[in-house]
Symmetry: C2
Subunit: 112 residues, 2 copies
C-alpha cells in the first residue's frame, strides 16, 4: 500500500498563479532542464527564473537534483493531482456527464 501524504494545496495553487511559472512547467514536460536552460526561454535574468523555480519547488511541482555544477529541474506532476482533486469538487456543477463517468470508472478500477 502506498502511503499517500496529504498535503495542503496552498503552495501549489500559489505557484500556478504566475504565467511564467506555468510556462516553465509546460517546458519541463519535454525534458529536464538546468536553470540556465530554463532561463534561455524567457526574457528575464537567471536570478528571476531561479526564484520562480524555487516557488515551483515549494509547490512540489518540480524537483531539483544537483548534477555537477548544474541543477537539473524535473517536472513533478503529482502535485497537480491536488489541484485536479480540488477542481473536481465542482464537477457536478459544470458537467454532470463527467461525474457520472468517473464514478463508473472508479468501480472498475477498485474491485476490492
Amino acid at each position: 500500500m502506498q502511503t499517500h501524504q496529504t498535503i495542503n494545496p496552498q503552495s501549489t495553487f500559489r505557484a500556478l498563479a504566475d504565467p511564467t511559472r506555468r510556462d516553465i512547467l509546460l517546458l519541463l514536460r519535454a525534458k529536464d532542464l538546468s536553470i540556465a536552460e530554463v532561463a534561455g526561454n524567457f526574457d528575464m535574468t537567471r536570478a528571476a527564473v531561479k526564484k520562480h523555480l524555487r516557488v515551483l519547488e515549494e509547490g512540489r511541482l518540480i524537483s531539483v537534483t544537483p548534477q555537477g555544477r548544474e541543477r537539473i529541474n524535473h517536472l513533478e506532476p503529482a502535485a497537480l493531482k491536488a489541484v485536479s482533486d480540488w477542481v473536481s469538487f465542482f464537477d457536478e456543477f459544470w458537467d454532470a456527464r463527467l461525474t457520472a463517468l468517473s464514478s463508473a470508472i472508479a468501480k472498475d478500477w477498485n474491485p476490492e
Copy 2:
C-alpha cells in the same frame, strides 16, 4: 452549435491562488449568497471580502446580480474548465490510465 469563447486563464488562476477565495467558492456551491452573508463566514471585514469577490468576478468564477440593495453572488464553475484543461496537459505524466479512459469515453460521446 455553442460558440465557446476561449479566454486566457490568467485571471482565473490568480483568483484561485488565495485560500479565502477558494473557500468562498466552496461556500457558493450550496447556494447564492449576498456579500454580507459571505462575509459572515470569515474573520475579516466586509470590505476585504468584497475585494475577494471582485477578484473572483474578474476570474469569471462568480457572477454578481443586484437584487434590491443586495448583491447576490453566484458560482460560475465554467471558468474551472479552463483550469481543468490546463492541468490535463500533464495527464499523461501522472496517470496514464486516466488518459486512456477519457479518450475511450470521448469516442462514445462524440459519435459524429
